[in-house]
Symmetry: C2
Subunit: 118 residues, 2 copies
């Protein structure tokens, strides 16, 4: 089946959904690739929780600001609009802080590592 | 070989390179996936030129503004910051206009179509 063209607005429709208040929207999904928008308003990772993903994650902070801690680093990285980071598979990380005063918009590209890679 | 963590600033280092004045930077590259930043300052596609790619292209307009014509559509789509569009493989398109008064920053994710798809 031929894929249709699809479009959207990254900065629109950012109101929270559900009680947790953080919002996740898939923008593209196919085997081995997913593009997701995440909208945070002060949310952080739960205590002692680490993301540990089998996919790579290329993530851009589109708006707002955040602090991201990479396991093994002494202090979190401060991210502001336009900053991106490519997290290899199993690069453990957690969100230590997002600005509670505004919406922080992330664009995350999750991708399968190359075959034969690590 | 284990992939290293890499980072960058999408809104920095946007000065033109070369005579054409449009700038292209690969931010991530692996088989079947490439993430590229494009910085345009008034550039448009040459007359009668159409992009016709075997990959899909998910593209976000991060800053600036542009008009993108999709083959078969009567008029170009106006894109402003935050607008994204997913162009399936072989969706012919051309850039009719980018704002000559400012830098238009695109984030393009080129991806192999799913096996058995199209």
């Amino acid at each position: 089946m031929k894929r249709a063209l699809s479009t959207g607005r990254l900065l629109a429709g950012v109101q929270p959904e559900g009680a947790a208040g953080e919002r996740f929207d898939d923008l593209l999904r196919q085997p081995g690739l997913r593009i997701e928008r995440i909208v945070s308003t002060g949310q952080v990772s739960p205590p002692d929780f680490w993301y540990d993903q089998s996919e790579g994650e290329w993530v851009l902070l589109v708006a707002g600001q955040a602090r991201l801690l990479i396991e093994g680093e002494g202090s979190p990285r401060f991210l502001k609009a336009g900053d991106w980071i490519d997290l290899p598979p199993h690069c453990r990380h957690r969100v230590e802080w997002t600005d509670p005063e505004c919406q922080t918009i992330w664009l995350a590209v999750y991708y399968a590592p190359p075959v034969g890679g690590d």
